[in-house]
Symmetry: none
Subunit: 423 residues, 2 copies
């Protein structure tokens, strides 16, 4: 069954806040088996609310709306609902009692604004809001269902999870939709799509594939709908195995796992420690590694050697090496990796040096040129990359690529072979 | 003039990503003097894109859409546009050349998918995308303007800011809206609002104040509308001076300047160098400092000492000190600051040690307890903070607070006095 989400509030339209309510509702409705076909955001005026309801009802059988039910916008929203559903306001006693209790708990007296919140459209079924003064409202009209929730996120979430979703599951026989996401890093989207052409062609009916790119990484979402969870899981798992046949070395995890999380898991399992030596990433690799709770179990620390003086003094890069080969060179990155391994006495290391930009490029080594090394005490692998011109992205892509190379190293993947022929 | 925003992508409808593009576009259109009346999100199917365009055109004269322009098979926007605008795809040579250049810079070959991106609807005006392969498209139909931008945020933002907004300002006689933003750090929003009560009451007609909070920092946006730029600038400048009277020590810059940028400006001006010693922030302070182009002029580097062993060995924290006082203590943070100053021989330093969480807290030092020190060779100032329970926010707030303390130190602000009485 199709669903639409309406969020009401000028603060969303002027970009003062990001609409996280719509995403939360979208995710939960999808997981319940509804298909969200449209999201609409409108200002809190009678006309725009009415027109959004009308519009949404053309595409969806269930319309869920948030916002515009608080005490300050009552005068606009509830009359709009009364007009649309041809009903009028009436005192709802349980709501009045609940408001009174809430206020008493905060040592507050009921004022006119609070009292008005207990006046609700007579034809609505009331959804209890344990955390706030504005309850949810449920209407039926011409075979369509309309649900109005308050805009305060934790109040909305509580009503949705505790009352609305169970009610929807009870009333409708919903198909099951299963999504799984394959997290990849290192293969550009266009190369990925080329490798997966045959895979896409063989997708069974009811199974779909979506590409969700981010800098250098691509998330592949496989979706399937049906009636039986076990069958669906089996179906999707089978499809994932097929996809892996052509992209396996680039897959680091599933279902929104981050690359630092995936690495943390591997290092913890294998009881390996890590230290990093950073130049152009300026601390971003260490920051990514330590974004994971519990990373102190495997991360010893690192050195950000932004100046050549510090590279020599703290990372033990031999005097003269930088002068001879340059700070952005295979020789330099290998020396940095070796230096931090000796100093921090960790099992594994990442070292990077490059030109993040916008300054510092030369015809020979333009902005975006980066050397990355990963290794342990017996073996260090280094590779050069040519990223783009944007500083922020160069730092991010260097960080992700370095972490991905570390993962490949630990998993025994041949890094040079995997990157052969790739940009 | 009314505007509508359409975002295309199933990943938004199913709640897999939060729609930050719509917020960015909403904010920028509003600041340009357009009124955003509706936002619509639809799936990437020809039918839903067409119906969204039709719907949006009923409310708005300018329709801006993002997403669905990528190279993969789930991107169907272009066929939908050909149908809606009754045109067909044609090879756009400048776009093909640009794609070729982008690929060449990354050592990539053009494949079929990339080549297809140069096929554009013939009746569209092309908006150059310097960062990506999918350009923006501009159409006119029955007196309405339709603009399509790629969904990758930084590509969308660049086209919007560099081409689209200037073009809209040129074409339409939009009222002049002047915004200036005061960037503050360190004073919580409720304290800020209390200090600014009198200021808010005296705001002249046509001038408004908005609070745009983020973790620990608050942006104050002062807006004024009128017809004469000089008059508006004079008016807003006067208001800023009034606000500064009560919040000056917390103001680090204006108009979306970042704290690391503000610090970079000060350090460059005064020819001072910086090194950092980080524990709980795990590299985030160094990463923030080096996010600024040209930071190599003043940033020497730093040490991420995640383990106590590294604090002693690399940051010269005396043996026994951590055992006696704990790694999260005034003594430890002062020793870390002194150690990195001696080792890196920089003029200034930041040192931090704390419990980012979720593990590692004790009744005495709960998660969120952080010691921050800033100083130079003659004077080090340390202060304890108690942030929250969320790891990511603790790291971010520690980073921002540490940078802000460094700014105050260099600007001669009495740090202890300024933070007196604050949480």
């Amino acid at each position: 069954m199709n669903a639409a989400v309406i969020t009401i509030g000028k603060e969303i339209l002027i970009g003062q806040i990001t609409d996280t309510n719509a995403a939360f509702i979208g995710q939960n409705l999808t997981e319940t088996g509804l298909e969200v076909v449209r999201m609409i955001t409108v200002a809190d005026t009678v006309e725009s609310i009415e027109s959004a309801l009308k519009e949404a009802s053309e595409y969806a059988g269930i319309i869920i709306s948030t916002g515009g039910l608080g005490p300050t916008s009552d005068d606009v929203t509830k009359p709009a609902l009364c007009r649309y559903f041809q009903t009028s306001l009436a005192l709802h006693l349980p709501t009045r009692d609940h408001i009174q209790q809430l206020l008493a708990a905060r040592n507050m007296q009921m004022n006119e604004l609070n009292a008005a919140q207990a006046m609700l459209p007579a034809s609505a079924q009331v959804l209890f809001n344990q955390y706030g003064t504005a309850p949810g409202l449920w209407f039926e009209k011409e075979g369509k269902y309309y649900i109005f929730l308050p805009g305060v996120p934790f109040e909305m979430k509580a009503i949705l999870l505790d009352y609305l979703l169970p009610e929807l599951k009870k009333r409708f026989s919903l198909p099951l939709i299963l999504h799984r996401t394959i997290m990849t890093q290192g293969l550009p989207e266009s190369y990925m799509a080329e490798r997966l052409q045959d895979f896409e062609r063989q997708l069974p009916p009811g199974v779909s594939l979506a590409y969700l790119p981010s800098y250098g990484g691509v998330r592949l979402r496989i979706s399937a709908s049906g009636r039986n969870r076990q069958e669906l899981e089996h179906l999707v798992d089978g499809q994932i195995q097929l996809a892996l046949k052509v992209i396996q070395p680039f897959v680091y995890g599933y279902d929104e796992e981050s690359l630092p999380e995936a690495i943390g898991k591997i290092l913890r399992e294998r009881r390996l420690s890590l230290s990093v030596a950073e130049s152009c990433t300026g601390g971003s690799i260490a920051a990514a590694v330590t974004s994971v709770p519990g990373s102190s179990e495997y991360f010893k620390g690192g050195i950000v050697a932004y100046s050549n003086e510090i590279k020599e003094k703290e990372l033990l890069v031999p005097a003269g090496l930088i002068q001879k080969h340059g700070a952005v060179s295979k020789e330099a990155v290998m020396a940095m990796a070796g230096g931090i391994l000796r100093k921090f006495n960790a099992d594994l290391t990442i070292a990077v040096t490059g030109i993040a930009g916008p300054g510092g490029g030369t015809p020979d080594k333009p902005v975006g040129t980066v050397w990355i090394a990963v290794g342990d005490k017996s073996n260090i692998v280094a590779r050069a990359f040519r990223f783009g011109e944007n500083r922020e992205r160069n730092i991010y892509r260097t960080t992700q690529t370095a972490l991905n190379m570390l993962r490949m190293l630990v998993q025994g993947i041949d890094i040079h072979a995997v990157f052969q022929g790739l940009p």
